[in-house]
């Protein structure tokens, strides 16, 4: 062999180990189960949902692991992750507060509710409170227009909400957080 002795062999096995270590078990199981099926790359969005559900957000290491294990170019994966507003690339707080700014809620004063939340938490949309408990986002429509104006915290919908009710609502979640953290 005329090639020099400095060339290492394929680096994939070592890389693969690292990527697998980055993702939760059931995400790995999901990817493994569908590998090789026709159009398995179409499960990218479902996979990203699973990762975000588990880990709270999609960090660069997670995205690379998904890209490599699903054999989808990383640029495509990040292109998809940044296109959809549901995916969060920054770590977020324990509770995600989603203020609905859809038509019905807007017409019923959602902006004031949003402003009150921002004042109480000291953050803007897209940011997380300093104690890491709350992240604030806005959304266009939660689909519960009869209860406008509406705020979603996690999966729970709260409405109709007035700015005056905001402090008590936040308090209840703070209490819940304290309970959960005490259990751990």
């Amino acid at each position: 062999m005329t090639a020099c002795p400095h060339c290492p062999t394929d680096n994939w096995p070592e890389l693969e180990r690292g990527y697998r270590a980055m993702l939760p078990e059931d995400v790995l199981a999901f990817i493994d189960a569908h590998r090789g099926e026709p159009h398995s790359e179409s499960l990218l969005i479902a996979t990203l949902h699973m990762v975000q559900d588990h880990l709270g957000h999609l960090g660069p290491g997670h995205l690379e692991a998904v890209a490599q294990l699903m054999q989808i170019p990383l640029a495509k994966v990040t292109g998809v992750a940044t296109f959809y507003h549901y995916f969060r690339l920054q770590p977020r707080g324990r509770y995600l507060i989603n203020v609905c700014l859809g038509t019905a809620c807007y017409v019923k004063g959602a902006e004031k509710v949003a402003q009150k939340l921002m004042d109480e938490l000291g953050i803007h949309f897209g940011e997380t409170s300093k104690d890491g408990i709350f992240s604030l986002e806005s959304t266009r429509c939660v689909g519960t227009c009869g209860l406008a104006p509406v705020v979603m915290i996690g999966e729970e919908v709260h409405g109709p909400l007035t700015p005056g009710q905001v402090p008590a609502l936040l308090e209840s979640y703070l209490a819940r957080a304290a309970e959960e953290m005490a259990k751990v």
Partner: protein, 726 residues
């Protein structure tokens, strides 16, 4: 000759019949609680839990807690329904845990309803009986005035209004089922007897035999079961409901969404059994053509034509997709249907898959609808377990399966080609059309995409016939449409009415009119792709073409009521901001154009507009309409063009006079304290975030305009209406 499908269905129906009969025999009393997103948000879980505790504590075995889906009467949730044997069903509004206790003890155990908490209790005390006359605009029955004459008859016989109430329902959906000439249907509750009345003699018989004599007049009992019967049985006394025609929403609020048995009991999967027995896709499509069913997602394209296009393709691999992306802000019809009647949508899709020759179908549901996703998943699993999905469906030998794919927060994925790209795992950016999805869609194969509501109508059309469905609607469009009524209207919620219903009827008769006694200014339809119908045109018929001619669109069914307190420039800006935020960015006119439109509107609402801005708005709007790549871009300027057309004066006021007539645009209003009304209570000063209100106790206060940030807190908190918004 063997009939495997028929036998399969029969066996299933028999089993269900037995199960439910046993359950009903055991449980005489049914308490109904809604279980969908709105209900949960309002606290229905806690109500249900409280009820369970009471039932357990009482030791009674004859009370059934029945979970249903969403009726669409969201502003009054949690709604709780109580059915005692032989009594009219009673619904309570805004129930909480304390009220559960009262309802349980006073009504369920004691037999006396808690009158002041009954839904729409201002309608009066509960009678013992109620007769609902079907007075749909489509079927004129056996002549007008029948109901009034009956009322006169009752009065003449001295039957008190307290014991028998007469009501009108917009439509049971029975039209066309009648054989033997025109007739009016009358529903007698609580016995749930449907009478078929052809004239005053029949009414006399009912009065004598049933109301006074206490015996059902069997010979007048209708043989057929109209589609909305079950719904009207439970909710027919409420004006908001009985003026609707529930076809797509027929089971919402009636069945437990998680129960296959209850769905089958409502003739669920009978249509599918019929379809598979006939084995004739052309018949299916033929009925849809007769029905004049048009896409309910907003496109209004003939469903039969679309399915035919797919069927004619040479490619044998085909897909059918349910578009559950419902991104219009203000629209929640699809969510409600998916959460409240999932088996119906599933059945519609299976039928569709058969009709077009597909092997696989997808539900594309937005991730913001977790309950809808769970309910559909549960429905799919249940169907598979019962031989209704997957291999050898209903013993027919035909295979077909369904899968859920999630959206992830992109309104543009409601567009067909973008939706396909999203399922393919790509950025949801639309593709140039042609080719159309029915030619080359998902992974290059012929694909049919329909809206949730379109699928919700399929089994009904096949059960009751395409002709019946066509008759419900107009010349060009058959059937009903579900609208999500919201905004400045008294009763917000889901309203399903026949196409061709006057807009004013929806807003005033069903919606209860504008809140606070304010003036109606406009009705916005079609979401961000739609336009405004000014109050002067409120009597127009709701249908695809009329709305288009008026400068709006049907859209998916969002209907926002706007009053004199809404600024049309501000609302136009709101919609453009939405479209701009949701623009996928692929094509130049939409990506750049919506941004520039927004900038211009922002300038105008900030009082920095110029007259040339109006020309620029129109020019940009036409550019987007003509040259954008997809429907989102083409329709994004509609609200702007529509509000310019009907409310140009408001734009001119903002630009020339620097004045917002609706007093909405913050930069163009200011707050002043009326010294004659101010009593000096200081509450405004204490609530001012920038402390710009000066004044001593008991003295008229003054706002420092230079420091004021126009948050409006003082306006909100003043109890003496002393703060004017100018």
């Amino acid at each position: 000759m063997p009939q495997p499908v028929h036998d399969f269905y029969q066996a299933m129906a028999d089993r269900v019949g037995r199960t439910l009969a046993a359950r009903d025999a055991e449980h005489q009393i049914v308490v109904q609680v809604g279980s969908a997103t709105c209900e949960h948000a309002a606290g229905s879980q806690a109500v249900a839990d409280e009820l369970v505790r009471h039932i357990r504590a009482s030791g009674r075995k004859d009370i059934l807690l029945h979970r249903t889906g969403c009726t669409g009467r969201c502003s009054r949730e949690p709604i709780l329904g109580v059915r005692l044997p032989g009594r009219l069903p009673v619904k309570y509004e805004r129930v909480n845990r304390d009220l559960v206790h009262r309802i349980f003890t006073e009504h369920i155990q004691g037999g006396i309803p808690v009158a002041q908490h009954v839904l729409d209790h201002e309608a009066g005390p509960l009678p013992e009986r109620e007769l609902l006359f079907c007075e749909g605009s489509r079927c004129h029955g056996s002549g007008p005035g029948l109901r009034e004459r009956f009322a006169a008859m009752l009065a003449a016989r001295g039957v008190s209004r307290g014991s028998v109430r007469i009501g009108a329902a917009s439509c049971f959906g029975a039209c066309g089922l009648a054989s033997g000439g025109p007739a009016t249907y009358v529903l007698a509750r609580p016995e749930k007897v449907l009478y078929r009345v052809t004239g005053e003699e029949d009414l006399t018989a009912i009065l004598d035999g049933h109301l006074i004599g206490g015996q059902v007049v069997e010979r007048l009992r209708a043989q057929e079961e109209p589609i909305a019967l079950a719904f009207m049985e439970r909710y027919g006394d409420v004006a908001f409901f009985n003026r609707q025609s529930r076809v797509a929403l027929r089971n919402a609020g009636v069945v437990d969404p998680e129960s296959l048995d209850e769905y089958v009991d409502m003739d669920g999967f009978k249509a599918l059994a019929d379809v598979l027995e006939r084995r004739d896709p052309d018949w299916v499509i033929g009925e849809l053509a007769k029905a004049r069913l048009r896409g309910r997602g907003g496109g209004g394209y003939s469903t039969a034509a679309k399915w035919t296009l797919a069927r004619r393709q040479a490619d044998a691999t085909r897909f059918i997709i349910c578009n559950g992306d419902e991104g219009d802000p203000g629209a929640f019809m699809d969510r409600s249907m998916l959460e409240s009647d999932p088996f119906n949508i599933v059945e519609g899709m299976i039928i569709g898959g058969f009709a077009i020759g597909a092997q696989k179908g997808f539900f594309y549901i937005r991730a913001e609808y977790p309950l809808a996703i769970r309910r559909i998943q549960q429905a799919l699993d249940t169907c598979r377990a019962h031989g209704l999905l997957g291999r050898n469906i209903m013993d027919s030998g035909w295979d077909f399966d369904l899968e859920i794919r999630l959206g992830a927060g992109a309104f543009v994925c409601g567009e067909e080609t973008a939706l396909i790209r999203s399922i393919e795992g790509e950025r949801g950016q639309p593709r140039v059309r042609p080719p159309y999805p029915t030619d080359r869609g998902l992974w290059g194969h012929p694909t049919v995409i329909n809206n949730v509501e379109t699928f919700a109508n399929i089994s009904a059309i096949l059960r009751y016939s395409g002709d019946w469905y066509a008759r419900l609607g107009t010349e060009k469009s058959g059937g009903t449409k579900v609208f999500a009524l919201a905004g400045k209207v008294r009763h917000t919620g889901l309203v399903e009415v026949p196409l061709g219903t006057p807009l004013a009827r929806v807003v005033n008769d069903i919606g209860g009119g504008v809140t606070g006694g304010r003036q109606l200014k406009a009705i916005q339809t079609g979401g961000p792709a739609g336009g405004f119908i000014p109050a002067s045109m409120q009597n127009m018929e709701v249908d695809f073409e009329p709305l288009q001619k008026a400068g709006s669109i049907m859209g998916s069914g969002g209907m926002i009521v706007l009053s004199e307190d809404d600024c049309m420039v501000d609302i136009a800006k709101f919609y453009i901001a939405f479209s701009q935020d949701e623009s996928c960015g692929k094509c130049t006119p939409c990506r750049e154009g919506t941004t520039r439109l927004l900038e211009i509107l922002e300038r105008i609402t900030q009082g920095k507009g110029e007259l040339s801005d109006l020309d620029k708005l129109e020019r940009l709007a036409r550019l987007c309409q003509r040259t954008s790549l997809c429907g989102l871009g083409r329709a994004a300027p509609n609200p702007v063009l529509s509000s310019l057309k009907h409310f140009r004066g408001e734009f001119l006021a903002h630009i020339v006079d620097r004045h917002c007539p609706a007093k909405k645009c913050v930069a163009l209003i200011h707050y002043e304290i009326n010294p004659e009304k101010c009593v000096g209570c200081t509450i405004c000063a204490r609530n001012c975030p920038v402390a710009c209100i000066a004044g001593a106790r008991k003295e008229a206060h003054v706002i420092d305009q230079a420091a004021c940030v126009k948050c409006g807190n003082c306006f909100d908190v003043c109890k003496f209406a002393a703060v004017d918004r100018v």
